[in-house]
Amino acid sequence: MIPDDVKYTKEHEWVRQEGRTVTVGITHHAQKEMGDLVFVELPRPGQQLKAGQPMGTVESVKAVSEVFAPVTGKVVEVNEALADHPEKVNQDPHGDGWMARIDLEGEPQGLMTAAEYRAFLGGGD
């Protein structure tokens, strides 16, 4: 459940880079830890993000967790479907549950490969 074609952060976001644009979301591990999500708060298109700063929140029935921008750049698109269907993040965190597309400014810093993320999780999923 840790795809090899994306990069990861210690806060359990994933980053898929295509040219100068990245798609980001939270990992399978993160959604599993949160449990059933009932609310997702996303950044606004056009919003300027700085790597490591909060860009949104995910809430399960019992818990709130911040989602941090994994890269610096400008939000060009967000997954509007999550407003009515936050469960997509649980069902398909690396696919339909994506959160935002960001136009990169500079190069991504400090991201982990799948192997590194796997080791970071201690060999779990």
Partner: protein
């Protein structure tokens, strides 16, 4: 810092782990917070039935020839009116009518009662009871000798009849009886904390596993599933039921909390009565109300509540209601702002979200 004592476990822990439960520390106990997921478990209780292990609840037996009068002196509901085989909801009050705990009182025999108290308050309650004990009253903590299962939902009665016998069908709300199980006796009461029809079953730890297995096995085709503390909280909040430590506590009285039905001023003197008599005569200045948010977001315990520009209090409990699909919560509001439809706002992190007062409970089960 002193080392934490090891967590207590219920007799069903191994079964929870095998069922894929996530266990968490709760009030000194290691308890299942969820199995397959809070939303699915919540739905199971509303549409079929759910089985809960709530063996962490405290159980205290009170007996003796002075037991009735003594319990009536410490609690606002009328213990002397209880029949053998009947239970009622009540509270332990301090001198100011502050709620030290809420509880169920079962009349087992004329002079013998079972008090069911919150796990988080068990130690403090026992100290309180012990310090007020008088001659002719015996108090025994039977928590460790008592497992407690709750079976809740529209098919609960049908399933329990299959597993324990036809006698349970005729139990009325807040009535109980004893039935044989696993070489001993189990106390079965028609009570619960979910807003659904259902039962709570008290029995010795040893045969509890066999009952748990039988209910899940026979219940499979009915859609019955195990349910953790996560869904227990969303279910009770939808039903408008208070959680001690959040919605009610020593700083709130039963009348402020909307629990006037447990306050029997005419039964004679009892702890906190003078405050309740005054509140009933003069009216309370604030009252626990339900609200819903009209904007996206989730109000949670501790968030600030505003009426106009005035900060009037905090959310005592708040969650996303799985049944209603909206954010619901409770808060103490000034008396003049308690009417349904009253506009309010809740500070959820950076945003002040609009909401309105709604009548409690948020959810009422369909009557058949």
């Amino acid at each position: 810092m002193a080392a934490q004592p090891p967590l207590k476990t219920t007799p069903l822990k191994d079964r929870h782990l095998r069922a894929g439960a996530r266990l968490v520390a709760f009030a000194g106990w290691e308890m299942p917070v969820q199995y397959q997921g809070v939303l699915a478990e919540h739905r199971a209780v509303r549409t079929a039935a759910g089985l809960f292990d709530v063996s962490h609840m405290g159980e205290v037996e009170v007996s003796g020839k002075e037991a009735v009068g003594w319990l009536d002196s410490l609690t606002p509901n009328h213990v002397a009116r209880l029949e053998v085989g009947q239970a009622h909801y009540s509270a332990l009050l301090d001198e100011n009518a502050g709620i030290l705990d809420d509880l169920l009182i079962y009349r087992l025999e004329a002079d013998r009662f079972l008090l069911v108290i919150n796990a988080a308050n068990t130690t403090a309650d026992l100290e309180w009871l012990g310090s007020h004990r008088r001659g002719g009253v015996e108090i025994e903590n039977v928590t460790d000798a008592t497992a407690l299962l709750a079976l809740q939902g529209p098919v609960a009665a049908k399933l329990l009849v299959q597993v324990m016998g036809p006698e349970v069908e005729s139990l009325r709300p807040f009535r109980f009886r004893f039935l044989a199980w696993g070489g001993g006796e189990a106390l079965i009461s028609r009570t619960g904390y979910t807003g659904e029809d259902g039962f709570e079953i008290y029995l010795s730890p040893q045969p509890a596993g066999q009952l748990w297995d039988a209910l899940l096995e026979r219940g499979r085709d009915l859609g019955v599933s195990p349910v953790g503390l996560g869904a227990r909280d969303t279910l009770r909040l939808e039903a408008g039921l208070c959680l001690h430590g959040q919605d009610i506590h020593a700083g709130t009285t039963p009348l402020e909390a909307g629990l006037g039905f447990i306050v029997k001023l005419d039964k004679g003197e009892f702890m906190g009565r003078h405050v309740l008599a005054r509140q009933r005569q003069e009216g309370v200045t604030r009252r626990l109300c339900g609200f819903r948010l009209l904007e996206r977001g989730i109000a949670r315990h501790g968030h600030e509540v505003y009426v106009g520009d005035s900060h009037v209090g905090e959310v005592t409990s708040g969650t996303h209601s799985p049944t209603l699909g909206q954010s619901i919560g409770m808060a103490y509001l000034p008396w003049e702002a308690t009417q349904p439809g009253q506009a309010l706002a809740v500070q959820v992190r950076g945003s002040r979200l609009a909401g309105e007062v709604v009548p409690l409970p948020f959810y009422r089960r369909p009557r058949t």
